[in-house]
């Protein structure tokens, strides 16, 4: 069964600045959806609204057509990777994998360098290593949809390729929404792409559209 996550009718303003006003994004299980936009365009605000972490004046977030009217999100429906570190530093990796009901050996198959960290506190990992663990948790844990806010930041190219492979694998089972400035990587893994500009979403079909929307240079 294909599930859908639809986001629209969102209105968000800070003072006189209208951050979001005409947004429509649809994500479906089996597909990855990219969200691009300049710094300050409102991408992270939009994703926080979808996850129920930011209150907007007006919003409509629907899963399979059913609106979510409260700020609680069932992990089976939706998980969210924020831009900033979110795993409490004192937790050890074995405990984190237990919480997310994931097998550490599967993780080691993808990232063999982490084998020695099984009982290490996550705060003792480097920024990039910590980010990899966080991405893996949100991306691979069981859910219908996952939202990844800048998953490729702080990650070295070799590991970006592994994460892209994981996204391609996981999108068979879930809907994934990704935002990042590494647009070429987004294009590689996404089935459809939106650009957020002036509070509105624009669907993108080619690199030319990104130029027209002034996201990349002509």
């Amino acid at each position: 069964m294909i599930h859908s996550l639809e986001i629209d009718s969102i209105f968000l303003e800070y003072g006189l600045k209208k951050v979001l006003q005409n947004v429509y994004i649809k994500s479906e299980t089996g597909k990855a959806t990219g969200l691009l936009g300049r710094n300050g365009a409102g991408k992270s605000c939009l994703l926080k609204i979808v996850f129920g972490e930011l209150d907007a004046g007006n919003k409509s977030v629907r899963i399979d057509g059913k609106p979510i009217l409260h700020d609680y999100r069932k992990p089976d429906d939706l998980r969210y990777l924020p831009q900033r570190r979110f795993i409490p530093g004192f937790l050890r990796l074995n405990r984190i994998f237990k919480d997310f009901n994931l097998d550490f050996n599967d993780f080691i198959n993808e990232f063999p360098d982490f084998e020695k960290y099984y009982k290490t506190r996550i705060k003792n990992l480097s920024g990039g290593e910590r980010r990899i663990v966080e991405i893996y948790m949100i991306l691979v844990a069981k859910t219908k949809f996952c939202i990844l806010d800048e998953p490729f930041s702080q990650i070295m190219p070799l590991h970006i390729e592994i994460i892209k492979k994981l996204i391609l694998r996981e999108k068979q089972y879930k809907g994934i929404i990704i935002t990042d400035h590494l647009y070429q990587d987004i294009i590689d893994v996404c089935n459809n792409i939106y650009v957020l500009k002036n509070g509105k979403t624009h669907i993108v079909y080619s690199l030319r559209d990104l130029e027209i929307l002034e996201y990349i240079n002509a």
Partner: protein
């Protein structure tokens, strides 16, 4: 079902440990005062405890707010975290206060 409840309790305990040391230290100070001066100190100590918990709440909301995402991604909303752990902490304070008065 049991596994899910165990995990919820484990997560609540994990969240509680992020401020338990400070809170239990304050409770211990209050108990020493109540043991020394008697039941008449209850009102003042109770409000002192509530105010310090308010400060802890403010500190965690300011400096550790990103960690709420961890719990929310596992199905525990901020409200559940605070209501559960604060209730436990205040109940523990009251029980230990009564105990200290009985022993005195």
């Amino acid at each position: 079902m049991i596994a899910a409840k165990t995990r919820t309790l484990r997560l609540l305990f994990t969240f509680y440990t992020s401020y338990a040391i400070v809170s239990l230290l304050i409770t211990c100070c209050c108990l020493i005062i109540s043991f020394t001066y008697g039941i008449g100190t209850f009102t003042a100590l109770f409000w002192f405890k509530i105010i310090t918990l308010g400060l802890i709440f403010y500190f965690i909301n300011s400096y550790k707010r990103d960690e709420y995402y961890y719990y929310k991604n596992l199905g525990l909303h901020k409200r559940i975290l605070w209501i559960s752990t604060l209730s436990f902490d205040i109940l523990l304070f009251i029980l230990l206060f009564i105990l200290s008065i009985m022993i005195r």
